[in-house]
Amino acid sequence: MNHLAAIQVIIPLLCAPLCMLLRWRTGAWLIATLATWATFGVSLVLARTVILNGAITYDMGGWPAPWGISYHVDILSAFVVLIVSGVAALTLAFAYKSVQREIRPESLRAFYALLLICLAGLLGIALTGDAFNIYVFLEISSLSAYALIGMGQRRRALRAAFQYLIMGTIGATFILIGIGLLYSLTGTLNIQDLASRVEMIPTSTYGNHTLITAFAFLTVGLSLKLALFPLHLWLPNAYTYAPSVVTIFLAATATKVAVYMLLRFSFCILGQRFVFEQLTLGNILLLPSLAAILVASLVAIFQYDIKRMLAYSSIAQIGYMTLGISLNSHAGLSAGILHMFNHALMKGALFMVMGAVAYRTGSVYLSDFRGLGRRMPWTMAAFVFGGLSLMGVPLTAGFISKWILLQATLEAGWWPVTAIILLGSLLAVIYIWRVVETAYFNPRHEIEHGTEEAPLSMLLPMWVLIGANIYFGIDTSIPLHMAERAATILMSGGTL
């Protein structure tokens, strides 16, 4: 029981080379699937333990905290781990056919191995209690993500991967500088240690220069990683040209983990008082978040590649999460954290629809959707429900987080912000409707090339996610409870 936190990372990390060693291609998929389901199972147990008994601290290799690396799992970590491993498990179930079609057979095993390494990195970020370890896991997940994106069928995937590599490395290096400056100031890398020592730094009227510089580097680096509005340029290309399965996985997990890092660094290490009152992170995040919601949604309306449209919509949705953080209130934080979960559910489902359509028609341009409402009824129905959740229609998961966010803005008295959130939802209605209209009301005019419903192995995980969207839209008690408790922990500086 005590080793759960370590096992979580070790399972995918050990199964990755196993995938490579096996000569049998289906075997690679089987191992990867089993590994992800195992991590999902572990994350469920972990979440349960943390909810019932409070945070778990695990010393790697038995070395106590200031010397060794310790894993610290509080409710926020458990929540993020649950999202990441859950999405990974469903993605792998979905992957079998899609990957067979989109990835060259000789690189199949490498593909699954990379996917597992990426998963291990993302889980590691959420679980570790050591600042430098976060950087290492971040690079593990990013490097495998670059390679995965580069495996896309079209040659533009390579360019997208290279662009992401450049921007991702700059972001990660900024984070590295930030961590280095924090270390020079405090002499420790353990997150809890860091927090207590940063708190002891005397604050003059101008603040401590090293601390401010560290904050600046960390914020910019993390914003690059989470694709905050002006720093989002790598995201649309990467999501559009990556293989379908990679897009599903990264869209639902990678940016969420970056948001988690932002929360961890600003609330648990630098401290809410310093970050929000002295350096006004709230104001720094507010404008980019609002710009993301408006501009990215507007741009999404004019996209003809629907995968690209959803990528822009992702940028807008990240705007909602950072907006929740910028409110600097308990309700705002809960909304932001809950939206991480709900966004993973809806974007996972929507990108799975893209994967299924790409599997049957070969591409996902708007014109490919003509008449699909009749030819792929289940897939398009999933798109409709996922789209409803994206807009935030009541009885879907998307509604809950937007509702709490709206309440939080009203609580803060930010009327214009409330209006912008609603406007963003309206824009979502427009871009989702374009696709729905084409699918249901435009007949296929060219010669029909026998498009039929997607295979069951794709429909099943897709509908599990849609089911989750609806279930958590009606009974949201579990994720909401976790998000609220995570927000409480963050507001108190991560000490609970």
Partner: protein, 117 residues
């Protein structure tokens, strides 16, 4: 404050800005990677500089010596160097593949080829 006393930090900043400038301005993908390498290497120097303790020697226990430099940043930077090597390797692999499929590694020409489709 004596500005010259911390010249190693100035070196780090200079290298970092040079690397950053190269990444932004150059269209050749290999040159971009070289710039990226300069950029990350500057951080190594920053970390090593942080480790220096005034009057301290190499962190090896020896009789008569009481002040040592901090060895931890050195260890951290070993990890960061490995990460840098891996990044460069992935980057170069991507450049090779790009050259394979586009026939060029100049960003402008790649963009032209993509747009002309």
């Amino acid at each position: 404050m004596n500005i010259g006393a911390h010249y190693n930090y100035w070196v780090a900043i200079f290298l970092m800005m040079t690397g950053f400038y190269v990444v932004i301005t150059h269209g050749n993908l290999i040159k971009k990677l070289i710039g990226l390498n300069l950029f990350t290497t500057s951080v190594f120097i920053l970390y090593i500089s942080l480790a220096k303790v005034k009057g301290g020697t190499a962190p090896i226990i020896a009789p008569g010596i009481e002040v040592y430099s901090n060895p931890l940043p050195h260890v951290l930077i070993l990890t960061a160097i490995v990460v840098g090597v891996a990044t460069t390797a992935v980057g170069l692999a991507l450049v090779l593949l790009i050259y394979d499929r586009y026939g060029t590694i100049e960003e402008d020409e790649i963009r032209l080829k993509d747009d002309s489709l």
